[in-house]
């Protein structure tokens, strides 16, 4: 059994965990970050992309609102390349109570959130597809944020400062020495081998899975209710500004333009298992209907993909918090001090929170750790840009188009929908060292455009095979697993144009290529261990 040591073990590679790893690494700690899957495959990778101005919380959840107001500009400063300044609108639809707008204004005022009520005509000029029946409109500094880019940027930054990022390493046990947590045993999901990590301190940033982790330390009475919400990505930007319904938080009340798509979200259903998040027809129908209310005609637009994300709804029997509706609980976060609560040292858990406050959450968690260790190391994440954000410019939608224009005469375009050139693809494959095309999809948005991989996934499989890292069986397995994975997000919204696309893709993969008739992988079905993944 191999053992590796570190000062800080961070469990969970979502926005929280990556942010924590970055923060701790900047403070000079030696860090290992583990996630049982790819980074940002949990909640972070499944949210709608809204970087909150705070307007959503000003009435119901002032603490959360204040946090957003403070953090929004900080993130724009430190990870500008992950953020598009779309601006936002709060609109009162015909179904909403116009009086809420006054509460909204008052709440914004209190929170110091810059907002302005504009005329309906101006709002419609800004966003011609908005429901012409809206009664009031307010501008806010919402933005859209690319969660994967954010998480990878933070993780790479941490790695540059010496951190080790181990994806596909699942925690199977937490080690204790007396009343202190001293590390964890993890299993490499790709090779099956286990290894021990000795850590001076363990930070549990695993979000919806946090309760499963703390149980490994023998801690009882903590639960995380998965609050499932579905989101649908529409094929193109129906709007270029974040649209919020000006009402108490409800289903389907946000439409976010994020990269090339617009995302309508979300619902709220309590599930039992954060890994079992079924998408139901009723939710899909409801979400489309909600979208139609914001943008009439949405029902005739093309839906690309549907997925479910999960809000971690913290439940602690000891503190008496009882969740009812996941939206009724404050969206702010809290550090769970197991030393105080359970007498267990060396372990802290982050509960609640949202992506907009990821930096603050990380700061609070690492601050709490430092306090317990008697370390005086201040947080610097508000002033340091992680890799990829060096030029300080906010992300613009046309940037990939501009880049492609520059390379058009030199290189092949592999994923046409999302404008990914061959050089970038091969470089990412090398850097990730992965056999899994879904990992590449998350890094680059490969196959996330209208054709959902119909043309590019064959090419990517061929290129991946050509890197020499995989044999035919592995490349095939990666291709078929991509197709199966993609199907999950497709079939519930398969109508209209997307069904047309799916049938064309079926013809390509099944009829023309015959992927389902390829011989299966040899041996016991396990894939060969790749060379050590590097995150740099």
């Amino acid at each position: 059994m191999t053992t590796i040591s570190t000062e800080v073990l961070v469990i969970g590679g979502g926005a929280t965990g990556a942010g924590v790893a970055w923060d701790a690494a900047l403070r000079g700690f030696d860090v290992i970050l583990v996630d049982r899957a790819d980074l940002a495959e949990g909640t972070s990778g499944r949210f709608h992309g809204l970087l909150h101005s705070g307007g959503r919380y000003v009435v119901k959840d002032p603490v959360a609102a204040d946090e957003c107001v403070a953090e929004n500009p900080i993130l724009r400063r430190v990870i500008p390349d992950c953020i598009e300044d779309t601006g936002g609108l709060f609109v009162t639809t015909p179904e909403d109570d116009p009086a809420y707008g006054d509460q909204f204004l008052a709440g914004c005022q209190r929170a110091g959130l810059p907002t302005e009520e504009i005329g309906v005509d101006d709002a419609l000029r800004m966003e011609p597809r908005l429901n012409p029946g809206i009664k009031r409109a307010f501008t806010v500094p919402d933005a859209s944020i690319d969660a994967w880019k954010t998480v990878w940027s933070l993780a790479r930054g941490a790695a540059q400062h010496g951190a080790r990022v181990l994806t596909y390493h699942a925690v199977v046990a937490l080690h204790k020495d007396g009343d202190a947590v001293t590390g964890a045993r993890v299993r490499d999901e790709l090779s099956g081998e286990e290894l021990d990590i000795e850590a001076g301190f363990t930070l549990n940033a695993s979000g919806a899975w946090a309760a499963q982790i703390v149980k490994l330390a023998g801690i009882e009475g903590i639960g995380v209710i998965p609050g499932k919400g579905i989101m649908i990505a529409m094929n193109h930007r129906l709007v270029n500004t974040v649209i919020n319904r000006c009402t108490m938080p409800a289903d389907g009340d946000i439409l976010v333009p994020i990269r090339t798509v617009s995302v309508i979200g979300t619902t709220d259903m309590r599930e039992a298992d954060p890994d079992e998040l079924p998408v139901t027809q009723a939710e899909v129908d409801q979400m489309l209907a909600d979208g139609e209310r914001l943008v009439p005609g949405l029902l005739q637009a093309r839906a690309l993909r549907v997925w479910a994300g999960v809000r971690p709804l913290w439940q602690d029997e000891r503190s008496g918090e009882q969740a009812t509706d996941t939206r009724d609980v404050s969206r702010t976060h809290a550090v769970v001090d197991h030393s105080a609560r359970d007498g267990t040292r060396g372990l802290l858990t982050m509960s609640g929170g949202k992506l907009t406050t990821l930096r603050l959450m990380a700061q609070d968690l690492v601050d709490a750790m430092c306090k317990q260790q008697g370390e005086d190391r201040p947080c610097t994440t508000a002033d340091v840009r992680p890799p990829g954000n060096e030029d300080g410019d906010l992300y613009t939608l046309g940037s990939r188009l501009r880049r492609r224009e520059g390379t058009q005469q030199q290189e092949q375009l592999i994923c046409e929908c999302e404008l990914i050139g061959r050089t970038k693809l091969e470089e990412t494959m090398r850097r990730r060292g992965t056999q899994n095309l879904d990992d590449i999809r998350r890094s680059l948005r490969l196959g996330m455009g209208p054709c959902q991989g119909g043309f590019c996934i064959y090419r990517a499989a061929g290129i991946l095979h050509g890197t020499g890292r995989l044999d035919g069986a592995q490349a095939t397995a990666s291709l078929t697993s991509f197709l199966s994975e993609r199907w999950h997000g497709m079939w519930p919204i398969l109508y209209g144009d997307q069904l047309r696309q799916a049938r064309l893709d079926d013809w390509i993969f099944q009829g023309l290529l015959g992927v389902q008739h390829l011989p299966p992988a040899n041996g016991d079905g396990r894939v060969e261990a790749p060379a050590q993944e590097t995150v740099a």
Partner: protein, 432 residues
């Protein structure tokens, strides 16, 4: 709902409703990346400088957002031939999306002097007509053309028409069309007005011969197509509105409007409404509903048994190329149907998507080679056929084909006119 009802109206919207506010752009949702448009694109097939209609159209459009500077200058290599929209099996208005995107690109980049000038045929017409002989000599002078290429950017070898030195409108003003029960209006276009008034005269003559009273509405200017193709949308709209105003009275009186420039008729029939967001302009709407390509109209009459035309044998061999814009009407090739009525005429149908010139595209110095390569297949076909004449419905195509092959190229109407005994062989073959 009974079967009867089901068969009597469409169940399914082929295009997004106007509530999405984006009639052309919204169709990008239908794109399934099938590559069919790129297969047919005449420009993408001859040069890598143009990445293809799917790429600059529905694909790139997802990356364009208001307020952001347009990123992709390769879009300007689109010739606007419109073939992509015609072949798209999903109903994406690709060419229209491209044209609109180009306008946004040009808004930022600005318009060159050249593009301002060549997109305004009336300007050129008014400038060149008074001193036509001198102007024509200049345009035929190679050294002066080389100079012109350097100064203005029109390729020295690009085919340019000769100024007639008079306006078709002048003739039309003096001409009295004999009264007849069937009334039509003639939309002559800039081509006939400044360069080929004989085509206009023949058109009026032929229509009168089949029993039409022909009205040539006064004050016709330019349909705005060159301005639209060059991305100058505001100016294009002004031209379109003016033209629509001139033609609307005839349309409102229920009189059909016929045009001999197939690209100009398409502009007023469809393109201006779709691309310039003038769908509901009342004058343009009624004009568009009454607008016909001349061959389209004559075939319509023929199908109804109302084409009163005696056609004499015409023992010659001609080639026929249907311009891309003619195909944009979606009416098949009515010129062929008409010429098939002429005894002893051998018509060889060319198999080419586009001649390359695409209006003003192919005369530009940076696009000339591309245009020449696009048209090469067509020119080879025509030369191999060694015809007496080449036939083509669009004037810029005619000039380009004649310039590249040396074969005299005429409008199908001129063939019909000859076969109807209204002109002689010599008149048919005479240069414009």
């Amino acid at each position: 709902m009974g079967i009867t009802d089901k068969l009597s109206h469409s169940q399914h919207d082929h295009d997004p409703p106007d509530v999405l506010g984006d009639l052309m752009r919204g169709t990008l949702d239908h794109c399934v990346k099938c590559t069919i448009c790129e297969t047919f694109c005449p420009v993408a097939n001859v040069t890598p400088l143009f990445p293809g209609p799917k790429t600059v159209g529905p694909q790139a459009e997802r990356f364009r957002v208001r307020g952001e500077e347009s990123q992709d200058h390769s879009l300007d290599y689109c010739s606007g031939c419109g073939v992509c929209t015609q072949v798209c099996p999903q109903g994406v208005h690709i060419a229209e999306i491209n044209t609109q995107a180009r306008a946004k690109l040009k808004e930022r980049d600005g318009f060159s002097l050249r593009d301002r000038i060549i997109a305004r045929p009336p300007l050129l017409g008014r400038a060149g007509t008074p001193a036509a002989p001198l102007v024509n000599k200049t345009l035929a002078s190679r050294p002066l053309r080389l100079l012109g290429e350097k100064l203005i950017g029109v390729h020295h070898a690009a085919a340019v028409p000769t100024f007639a030195g008079r306006k078709f409108q002048g003739w039309a003003k003096k001409h009295q069309s004999p009264p007849a029960t069937r009334r039509v209006a003639y939309f002559h276009g800039c081509g006939a007005n400044w360069y080929e008034p004989v085509v206009g005269e023949k058109t009026v003559g032929l229509l009168e011969a089949i029993g039409c009273q022909v009205d040539v509405p006064r004050g016709q200017s330019c349909c705005g197509l060159p301005l639209q193709s060059n991305g100058q949308f505001d100016a294009a709209r002004r031209y379109v509105r003016t033209m629509a105003k001139r033609l609307a009275p005839a349309a409102r009186a229920g009189v059909d409007i016929l045009g001999t420039s197939t690209s100009c008729t398409l502009m007023l029939k469809r393109e201006a409404r779709e691309i310039l967001d003038l769908m509901e302009d009342p004058d343009l709407k009624v004009v568009s509903e009454h607008m016909y390509d001349i061959c389209e109209y004559l075939v319509m009459l023929h199908d109804r048994g109302e084409l009163a035309l005696e056609l004499q044998p015409l023992p010659m061999t001609v080639t026929y190329h249907a311009p891309c814009q003619q195909q944009g009407h979606g009416i098949g090739k009515p010129a062929l149907e008409l010429m098939a009525l002429i005894p002893e005429l051998t018509v060889i149908e060319n198999d080419a998507v586009c001649c390359g010139v695409a209006g003003t595209y192919g005369i530009k110095v940076e696009k000339y080679e591309i245009a020449a390569n696009v048209g090469r297949g067509l020119f080879d076909q025509i030369e191999d056929a060694r015809p007496d004449l080449a036939v083509c419905d669009s004037e810029t195509c005619r000039w380009h084909i004649e310039g590249s092959t040396g074969v005299r190229t005429v409008h199908p109407l001129e063939i019909i006119h000859r076969a109807a005994g209204l002109s002689s062989d010599a008149e048919l073959r005479a240069p414009a």
